[in-house]
Amino acid sequence: GESVGLHLPTLSVQEGDNSIINCAYSNSASDYFIWYKQESGKGPQFIIDIRSNMDKRQGQRVTVLLNKTVKHLSLQIAATQPGDSAVYFCAENPDTGFQKLVFGTGTRLLVSP
């Protein structure tokens, strides 16, 4: 059968709270970053992306912050809802000359009503 996976970091919040999910990336030359949401049994779904020439980008209820100095990326979700419960992955493009996403470990977000 399938090998046992790693235990995912988990963030538990109450409905209506703001959530912050953090990600450390590895390659200082990475030029593009993206956040995906993955619900159980489904493929990753795009949330928001940011290029290395920016440090903040906002979407609907979501904000991505990029700190290149410390190689840190964060996803902020405002007014978190039960439907936001999922695993969230950050990914970086290491600037290899073509598009290649390298995914981070993932964080499980649990939202209780």
């Binding site: 059968g1 790693l6 235990h7 489904k42 493929g43 073509f98 996403l101």
Partner: protein, 114 residues
């Protein structure tokens, strides 16, 4: 709606019995990717096609092969599945290979090896 479709959604095979997973896209994207995702882990890139140009990741086992007969379809062939190959297999597409933008993922095929 334009999308990435994977068939079947669930596949059961026996140890050592070849299996093929299918992906199709209606986005008319140039690039198609195959990822392997094991339980509670991040997706790991196996290979990608830019048009008909095949690009293998250095650590992808020889047991995994791929075919892209046309723009819309891409197949993942596992020649002799082992128990360690049980995983979710994700297909993704992107418009371009050089200008980086989001990848669009299909729903995945969950492979069980008995």
């Amino acid at each position: 709606d334009a999308m990435v479709i994977q068939n079947p959604r669930y596949q059961v095979t026996q140890f050592g019995k070849p299996v093929t997973l299918s992906c199709s896209q209606t986005l008319n994207h140039n690039v198609m990717y195959w990822y392997q995702q094991k339980s509670s882990q991040a997706p790991k890139l196996l290979f990608h096609y830019y048009d008909k140009d095949f690009n293998n990741e250095a650590d992808t086992p020889d047991n995994f092969q791929s075919r892209r007969p046309n723009t819309s379809f891409c197949f993942l062939d596992i020649r002799s599945p082992g128990l360690g190959d049980a995983a979710m297999y994700l297909c993704a597409t992107s418009r371009d290979r050089v200008y980086v933008n989001e990848q669009f993922f299909g729903p995945g095929t969950r492979l069980t090896v008995l």
